[in-house]
């Protein structure tokens, strides 16, 4: 490295932002060139002058004020969905009275099938690409405040690919993507309580639990609701595999609820 080259890299050199090779070349030049050594020393001293500036702390009452504002905002955020829900319920009641024929919207499961198709066609279907169930669960919790059970199906050769936050029925829903070979499996959790009877399809019982199966657009779906949320599995995998996955998810969720 010569003097001109060093001059051009002076700031990244001093800031430690050169790569290892350039760093050692610059170092070598500075060691043997008195002119550049002086230049570097002056710049370094200037940098230190700036770093010696008093580092003030925020006034303590500012922290308190911010905490209080965030607290108010958090409480309001908790109330808002219920206000919206009661408003929606009022509209729904009115709609049922006036237009009973329009009462049944697209089944939730159809919406989930459409999402499965859309997501799996994306180049990167997962917002968070991870094969670690715990990391995925943590991500939902931190990212959207969702408590999601992410089962490990690796024993059955079903690989966890990742996750994203989806929207369904105007709620943040969790979307977890798995793959068996090249066949994707999507698992949705939508935080709307419902009863199995509300889901269209064939009712089946598997290991003592009731599920609803339905085929849409060539995809098989297994869905159920547990009074807290509605779950839907969408895939081209066969029903036995889907029911087994559903059963594992249910068992995992029950286990987490007990903890």
């Amino acid at each position: 490295m010569n003097c001109a080259e060093l001059e051009g890299r002076l700031h990244p050199f001093l800031d430690g932002e050169l790569d290892v090779a350039e760093m050692s070349e610059a170092d070598a030049h500075v060691t043997e060139c008195p002119g550049c050594r002086g230049r570097v020393a002056r710049e370094r001293e200037f940098r230190q002058l700036l770093r010696r500036q008093p580092r003030e702390s925020a006034p303590p009452e500012l922290g308190e004020r911010i905490r209080a504002r965030i607290g108010r905002s958090a409480r309001w955020a908790a109330v808002r969905p219920w206000l919206a829900a009661s408003a929606a319920a009022a509209v729904a009641a009115a709609t049922v009275l006036l237009l009973p024929a329009l009462r049944a919207p697209t089944p939730l499961v159809s919406e989930l099938v459409d999402k499965h198709i859309a997501f799996t066609q994306m180049e990167e279907p997962a917002e968070l690409a991870s094969g670690d169930p715990e990391a995925v669960a943590r991500w939902f919790r931190e990212r959207a405040g969702l408590r999601v059970t992410v089962p490990d199906y690796s024993m059955a050769g079903i690989r966890l690919i990742g996750a994203r936050i989806a929207e369904a029925r105007e709620h943040h829903a969790s979307y977890v993507l798995y793959e068996k070979g090249h066949t994707p499996l999507s698992i949705f959790m939508v935080p709307i309580p419902g009863r199995e009877a509300d889901l269209p399809g064939t009712r089946v019982t598997y290991r003592g639990h009731e599920y609803v199966t339905l085929e849409r657009k060539g995809y098989r779906t297994v869905s159920w609701a547990d009074g807290q949320a509605t779950f839907g599995l969408v895939s081209m995998l066969d029903y036995d595999a889907l029911l087994e996955c559903a059963d594992k998810l249910r068992a995992g969720r029950a286990r987490e609820a007990r903890l």
Partner: protein, 196 residues
Amino acid sequence: MARRRLLGWATGEDRRGEFEEVALVHLDALYRSALRMTQNRAEAEDLVQETYLRGFRSFHRFNPGTNCRAWLFTILRNAFRSRWRRRGHELVAADAATLDAESESATVDGAAGHPEDEFFQTVLHGDVDRALKTLPLPFREVVILADLEELSYKEIAQVVDCPIGTVMSRLSRGRALLRQALGRFGREHGYLKKPE
């Protein structure tokens, strides 16, 4: 709230706890920078408060594991710039582009002709903040982030939303301008001789 918990969803309170844990540790750094940007305590406090509220509201978009400090600085900078614009200050991308072009060609050396130790002895308390104020905003912000808050080039590039190369040239120009301004104050204080 109890019903939300039953649904298996974190409440606003949970989210609040998480946010406070990861974000409030940067309060001092944000406050210092806000103070240096605004040069006004009441306004700096207001700006930091706005930053945290905006941050909390968009916390669901924050990717855990990524850099919370840089994320908060980005929000602070955007909040500052919208206030700045609301007050009729013109700060458009074109300004920064012109300044960047100038900084490519210009070389400034404020301490030229003065022995370095003499130069540093003349810097009085408050001079650095006063000198920062004379810098155009695009330079002021990168100098504050790099030299006073010690963010990496990558973090600064994220905060000011431009390539690392631009960060480097703004930083080099900004530091030179800062040095020049400090030299000027030194002459005003009578400690440095006027260049002949």
